[in-house]
Symmetry: C2
Subunit: 332 residues, 2 copies
Amino acid sequence: MKKLINAPEDVVREALAGVAAAHPELRVDLVNQIVVRAEAPRAGKVGLISGGGSGHEPLHGGFVGVGMLDAACPGEIFTSPVPDQILAATKAVESGAGVVHIVKNYTGDVLNFQMAAELATDDGVRVETVLVDDDVAVENSTWTAGRRGTTATLIVEKVAGAAAEEGQAIEAVAELGRRVNENSASFAVALTACTTPAAGKPGFDLPEDEMEVGVGIHGEPGRRREKLVSAKDIVQICLDAIQTAKPIGAGDRAIVIVNGLGGTPLIELYLVFGEVAAALRTAGVEIARSLVGNYVTSLDMAGMSVTVCRADDDIIRLWDAPVRTPALRWGG
Amino acid sequence: MKKLINAPEDVVREALAGVAAAHPELRVDLVNQIVVRAEAPRAGKVGLISGGGSGHEPLHGGFVGVGMLDAACPGEIFTSPVPDQILAATKAVESGAGVVHIVKNYTGDVLNFQMAAELATDDGVRVETVLVDDDVAVENSTWTAGRRGTTATLIVEKVAGAAAEEGQAIEAVAELGRRVNENSASFAVALTACTTPAAGKPGFDLPEDEMEVGVGIHGEPGRRREKLVSAKDIVQICLDAIQTAKPIGAGDRAIVIVNGLGGTPLIELYLVFGEVAAALRTAGVEIARSLVGNYVTSLDMAGMSVTVCRADDDIIRLWDAPVRTPALRWGG
């Protein structure tokens, strides 16, 4: 295993120390393993938190800040955060207006966030949960009942975060998050497996001439293995799956993300985006906004995912609202 | 070879088509292979361009925009842009105030930028060149007379770009760029080789338990091979080399970049930054500003570089000035 680490069991804590050093504008609680926006809680503002296993950076810690999350609670690598940790994050951002939990649909995350929500409720905090399950590759999987949650999480966090920032109430913030999720579909392709520090070797074997079609962000199996094809053909596979699950067509506008899984160079991601843009143009879909880069990764896995979110005026307005986080910044 | 591409010879052009689709605020000239800021040339503003081989994304195209470059001219992968291409970029941003060429010190780049500068001068354009040679690993190398230019290029582009944006004259803009370069030192370590689309296989062999200490951004040999050690020890190797070449100590302020070479997960880069911050704190150096992420890459190479730029008030003020590019945005 080749990694820039010290001991495998210290990776998450030591990386959080690096986040603290790099981003003095955030509060990093190394004991509870939570990353909190400096000015949280803010009176009257709905709190917004998310979390999940580490290894998907910059998700979620990289999206804490103005206009997005109030706190993130990273678990160990590919492991859900624990209920106490989620509870600590919830309380750190609660100002009386309630707290929205954004949860990717993996069984461990769902159970632990649910337990934390119950504990918070017992303490008088109102919690609403937005479950993200945008990955249309498989209906159930290794760690999931139902569809897996992947890159749409970023759009949910951005749009709900902007709504919370402008003072919308908890019902509206949660409803917007759910609306983004319902209108989003993602599909990923892996060219290589990833290696966790604890395992020290690739999570699965993938022959030199094959790709995993519909892979999950922990390397969970997708729909099938097949011979590696051109970027153009890979994009067609992704968009066909997306179109089948959540059709989008002439006159629709979309937020589109081409997301690297960690080990794929940016030049390839731009090339893929060019193919996605051409195909969507042919389908009559207007790409209203887009991102190209590493946003929801799978450690060092080579590959990428395409996310298409059908966007209405509200969603686009909130997407455009100012955001100031380590990994996403615009608008002042 | 596993890559998300179509034909190897089309990678750069097709990636540029993706850049055009993703960033409608930029003008991408697919014939000349140049990326230009929409509002260039702006009357009275010094033009700022850079370029070099592709494969180091987001350098340079990702740094075109308000407060940074006016244009970038990407060559083929790991290949200098040609003089005509550099000349086209120069003319696209010339408004009468002259054009600064920011050139990484590789023989091909130096010669081609020099030729383009002569052609531009013949056409009445004043050109100043800022040569970047911050990599302190080796004095001469495969493709270099003198030291190689790497991640300090980003700081040069940011600081000189801010100076040009606020209307400073060409001498002052170039002088600031040179000052940043003189005060910067970088050192890189590779855990794996990278694979160019044309070659289709890794550029060199690196045993499973070894690292290349002082590697160049094209995989050029560094100082030595040695057994892979802990992140803490790797950081010490990098900082020792930097301190020997350009000492920095108590009372100094620095802009520090921990830069991923492409294949290393962000969680590792943050862990490395934590070690760099701890070591510099011990040395009495104040990290005034920092970046952690993939900024000057080497395709899919695993590894990272540390850059330390001793920064005065001027440099920090210009670093903080607003920037709006695909890969770097802050301040409005």
